[in-house]
């Protein structure tokens, strides 16, 4: 298997500390309210809370009853009410006059190398609404990491939000005392989700990504239904490096998983078979040393085999093969007419509303917008199939630049001269244009060529022995976000990438940190740990690609993300079809 061993890889900092920290502070806050109290929790804080505390801990600190915040009148018998909420206007309005404390719960470690802010709304708030309410939160998360784990020697970033987060973080650090600690990370890379929309819109085909696409991993745990468990009950499973079977297949292309699981099953059989012909003494040793481990493995193995089988069935049913072919053609810019016909039929048949939208967006970004007649016709058909109220969704997608109509006869130079004119124009027209200017040209085709994101077609790609990060998309495409990270780390900055950054609408930066002068830099493990922060969400495919890159380069990546995302979550955040 490709990723199981980390030869010469640096060890990772212990992030369980962050959980302990959050728990201790929660306890401290609860102790500020002595006596019995009822606790009201924001629905989306419940799962994260579950990862750091449990009911026993809450009870120990005199929490009587637990409620979900529902923005309805409260019915409670307790004298003291305690609310655990995200600072949202609606919630604050509902709670009314109270005293507040801040619970510094910024980061939830989902795994050894994944830290999440658990803020799925970050994406819409920041990129669609242009509301910067979470910028300081992201900055504070970085400050927390720096305080606990030490400083960084270099910070790179790209994107408007990345810049703001960096500034916010810097200011927070200037406020506090600088702590000189042995650095635990060498480098930090901040990237805005809107720098690369293509990657999260692609179907995921590495195991973990596929599980997320089909079953939705929530806060590091997934619920497998009866179709997976082959029984009448559902099971919630934590998916992380503790699961020995999962940790070996999570980064694998799905086509390798069957073979691996089959082999495991055989090994397991052999291990059990050892019992035959054992004498009492040997049997005793077997039960004491091996049996428990075997049983554990047995349980996990049947679970993942069940999951693979169920995923295969689901994917066959939706003609996944054809869908993938269309995606790959779009990435390659090949047979676009056929792709449009496919998308059209997909819409006509009213198959998955989100998949149709995803394909439309992918078509638009890769083609730098749709031809006017295509845009109108596809939009009309979409509204016919899925409801006219989606014209609000289309307005959102347009504003974000995810799904656009090409302006007649518009070339890049025309566009540029327009932009140039805008700068001098002081009419209201200018301002209205500026308002929706968060939408940007994607330039995907040119970027793809420049960065060699799409391998030449016709070349054989052996998914068993991946040769680059493209394996996470069956060898058809290297995630743009990850390619940027690779290039910048290699060049130690943005030099030589001027054309690329121009096509990405600039906003790139590289800053050398204060502690860079420290001796013995190259020797410590820390110098080979890179922290990548995704603002607006990151997918499991990107995480797998970075793990692969780390293995290739002898470094390790730690992903900090505002939330784990995928195509469905990304697009659902932009729907406006219900009250």
């Amino acid at each position: 298997m490709a990723h199981t061993e980390w030869k010469d890889a640096p060890g990772l900092p212990d992030f369980s500390l962050l959980k302990r920290l959050a728990r201790d502070q929660l306890i401290f806050l609860l102790e500020q309210l002595p006596g019995k109290k009822d606790l009201f929790i924001d629905a989306d804080l419940m799962s994260p809370l579950d990862r750091i505390a449990n009911v026993t801990i809450l009870k120990q600190h005199e929490v009587d009853k637990l409620y979900k915040v529902e923005l309805k009148p409260i019915v409670s018998s307790s004298d003291q009410l305690c609310f655990l909420i995200r600072p949202r206007i609606q919630t604050v309005k509902w709670i009314s006059d109270v005293t507040t404390d801040e619970w510094n719960f910024y980061i939830l470690p989902l795994d050894d190398d994944i830290l999440s802010l658990e803020l799925p709304e970050f994406f819409r708030d920041n990129f669609l609404e242009g509301d910067q309410r979470w910028v300081t939160t992201a900055g504070s998360a970085l400050r927390l990491l720096q305080s606990v784990y030490g400083s960084f020697s270099k910070v790179y970033g790209i994107g408007r939000c990345a810049k703001m987060v960096y500034e916010s973080w810097r200011e927070l650090m200037e406020d506090g005392e600088q702590r000189t600690r042995q650095p635990e990370f060498a480098k930090v890379f901040l990237v805005d989700r809107d720098v690369d929309f293509v990657t999260p819109l692609c179907s995921q085909v590495v195991y973990e990504g596929l599980v997320d696409d089909l079953f939705r991993i929530k806060c590091g745990s997934v619920e497998f239904g009866p179709d997976v468990t082959s029984s009448d009950k559902s099971i919630k499973v934590m998916l992380n490096s503790q699961d020995k079977v999962f940790s070996e297949i999570r980064n694998e292309h799905f086509s390798n998983v069957f073979g691996f699981l089959s082999q495991k099953a055989k090994n397991l059989q052999t291990a059990y078979d050892k019992r035959r012909g054992m004498d009492i003494q040997q049997m005793k040793a077997f039960v004491a040393d091996e049996l428990k481990g075997l049983k554990q493995e047995h349980r996990l193995l049947s679970l993942h085999i069940g999951a693979s089988e169920s995923m295969m069935k689901k994917k066959t049913k939706q003609d996944f093969q054809e869908l993938l072919k269309t995606e790959h053609s779009l990435l390659e810019g090949f047979e676009i007419r056929e792709c449009i016909t496919y998308i059209e039929e997909h819409i006509n048949r009213q198959v998955s509303m989100i998949d149709s939208l995803r394909l439309l967006c992918l078509l638009s970004i890769t083609e730098n917008g749709l031809l006017s007649k295509d845009y109108r016709s596809l939009k009309a058909q979409y509204l016919q199939s899925y409801g006219i109220e989606h014209l609000l969704t289309f307005a959102n997608l347009r504003q974000l630049g995810l799904l656009e109509e090409q302006q007649a006869g518009e070339t890049l130079t025309v566009m540029e001269s327009k932009v140039g004119k805008l700068v001098n124009d002081k009419t209201v027209g200018k301002l209205t244009d500026a308002f929706s200017s968060l939408a940007k040209k994607s330039n995907f085709r040119a970027l793809s060529k420049r960065l060699a994101l799409v391998p030449k077609s016709g070349e054989e790609y052996d998914l068993r022995v991946p040769r680059d990060m493209a394996y996470v998309f069956s060898g058809a495409y290297i995630p743009l976000s990850c390619k940027l990270i690779e290039q910048v780390l290699e060049r130690d900055g943005w030099t030589g990438m001027e054309e690329v950054t121009r096509m990405l609408n600039g906003q790139e930066f590289a800053v050398t940190g204060g502690s860079s002068s420290s001796e013995a830099r190259s020797k410590t493990d820390a110098q080979r740990i890179v922290l990548v922060m995704f603002l607006g969400g990151c997918t499991f495919s990107e995480i797998s690609a970075l793990r692969f890159l780390g293995k290739e380069r002898g470094c390790r990546f730690i992903v900090v993300t505002t939330a784990i995302t995928n195509s469905s979550r990304l697009l659902e955040a932009l729907l406006d079809n219900s009250a």
Binding site: M46, S96, E177, K236, A265, N348
Partner: protein, 495 residues
């Protein structure tokens, strides 16, 4: 298995290389299925120690987890006596609070050093300041010394949750300086807090005017109004900005909050005059027409007693369904009605300018669901000038087959349509998928793929007609020693 003689090899072509596909006919997949059987058949002593298996409640949450207990307590409360519990005042507080506190100040409080004992020692006071409850102090506290701070200092205090006052920013210029300073530190919560202050202390004309030149602040303001549901003000703002299309959409969005279909229809009607883009104006017009028609159809179908409604009772109302769903419904319940009636497929097709392709797809789905194979056939039948009937389709026949299959059409029906697929690869994969043996066998025969014929024979029941057919084909060729072309011809004549 007897291997074919060398001379036969000249006749038979080699099988195509098969790559991995997401298809359950895949070999690897059957391998996996075997593994599953293997793993499940491994016998383990039945005293399963369940300690590492999570106990899961009815809702699927692990027993003892917080999410689980929340649901549990919520349900136990419901069963108890509710009326005696005190109610908490839920009137909004932000609006009556005056200008004193930013949103972020509600969540931050100033540091109170040395209060944390439980933290691990690795954290110094500076890196882990404790946040003691600032707001628990009387609200007037500290106002004296915060009353003459600069915009910069005020914004910094707002960011940190220290006491501050906005009252002293009286002139427009001062207020704008404050706003610009908030924007300069990128803190969305502070920006919104300042905007709330400006909203209260400035006339909306002036505020709108100033926001026009401040994009970031403007976006925050728009979002704030959206979240607070201040629809009217929002529409005014967008109008003032000259963003008429956005204003129209914003107004149109309101229909989603109207539950009563009659009122919703009337509201949509009132939207028709809004300044939408040309495209969207058509869509909104369609939306109104659609709901109007649906209300009429619904009223009549609710009490309809035609045979079809008894045989297939309606599961839901047709109100607020998309156009295509409405068309499907009409192809299901009102097929063959004259174009004059609102509920007829032809009327819907015409009213909403539905393409032929879309119409065929939808009608095909509905008629196949009803197993009206005759109707299905007539969708595709065309007569040429000689009077022969031929099947034509604006959508690929592989798609047609797929839809027929999903509606569990019998093999005979499927076979007819599989045969109509143009692309030989699609035809073969369709035939394999839907087990149209004749088509599969004929295709392999035409491809001269002996290997695949042998493989396929093994999947068939011994001595079934299909099995015998393959047997015959294989024998015939082995017997013949004629040159290639001739032998090919012979097979055709034999079958």
């Amino acid at each position: 298995m007897t291997r074919a003689k060398p001379e036969d090899d000249e006749y038979w072509n080699s099988s195509k290389f098969k790559a991995f596909t997401f298809d359950d006919e895949d070999d690897e997949f059957s391998q996996l299925k075997e593994s599953k059987r293997a793993v499940n058949s491994i016998l383990v002593d039945e005293d399963e120690d369940e300690d590492d298996v999570e106990r899961v409640s009815w809702s699927g949450e692990p027993v003892g987890s917080i999410s689980w207990s929340v649901k549990e307590t919520a349900s136990s409360i419901r069963s108890g006596s509710e009326q005696s519990f005190p109610k908490i005042d839920t009137t909004p507080s932000l609006s009556k609070q005056g200008s004193g506190y930013s949103l972020s100040s509600l969540f931050k409080a100033k540091s109170k050093p040395g209060a944390f004992q439980s933290f691990s020692e690795s954290f110094s006071d500076t890196s882990f300041r404790t946040y003691a409850p600032e707001l628990r102090k009387p609200k007037s506290d500290g106002k004296d010394f915060v009353s003459d701070l600069s915009p910069e200092e005020t914004v910094r205090r707002m960011q940190k949750g220290r006491p501050f006052s906005l009252e002293k920013f009286r002139s427009l210029q001062d207020k704008l300086l404050l706003l610009d300073e908030a924007v300069a530190v990128y803190d969305g919560n502070v920006i919104t807090a300042v905007l709330i202050f400006l909203k209260k202390s400035l006339s909306k004309e002036i505020l709108f005017r100033e926001l026009m030149a401040r994009d970031v602040a403007l976006r925050h303001y728009v979002h704030y109004l959206k979240e607070m549901g201040e629809q009217k003000l929002l529409v005014e703002l967008l109008k003032a900005l000259g963003r008429t299309e956005d204003m129209a959409l914003m107004h149109y969005k309101e229909h989603l909050n109207i539950k009563d279909e009659g009122r919703r229809r009337d509201f949509l009607k009132s939207c028709l005059s809004l300044p939408f883009s040309q495209d969207d104006a058509t869509h909104v017009q369609d939306h109104y027409t659609l709901l109007e028609r649906q209300i009429i159809i619904e009223a009549s179908d609710k009490k309809a007693d035609a045979e079809i409604f008894k045989k297939f009772p309606r599961k839901a109302s047709i109100l607020n369904m998309p156009i295509i769903t409405t068309l499907y419904y009409s192809c299901f319940y009102h097929y063959g009605e004259s174009e004059g009636t609102f509920s007829s497929p032809s009327n819907i097709r015409k009213t909403f300018r539905i393409s032929e392709k879309q119409y065929i797809l939808t009608a095909l789905g509905a008629r196949a669901k009803l197993k009206s194979w005759f109707d299905v056939d007539s969708l595709f039948n065309t007569k040429n000038w000689l009077g022969y009937t031929k099947k034509k389709s604006p959508i690929g026949f592989h798609r047609v087959v797929d839809i027929l299959h999903k509606n569990s059409a019998p093999v005979q029906v499927l076979q007819e349509y599989v045969n109509l697929i143009d692309d030989p690869d699609l035809k073969l994969s369709g035939a394999l998928k839907y087990k149209c043996h004749d088509v599969v066998i004929n295709t392999y025969r035409d491809l001269k793929d002996r290997q695949q014929l042998i493989v396929y024979r093994e999947k068939l029941e011994r001595d079934s007609p299909e099995y015998r057919k393959i047997q015959e084909l294989l024998n015939n060729v082995v017997r013949g020693r004629e040159p290639l072309l001739l032998s090919h011809f012979l097979i055709h004549s034999v079958v």
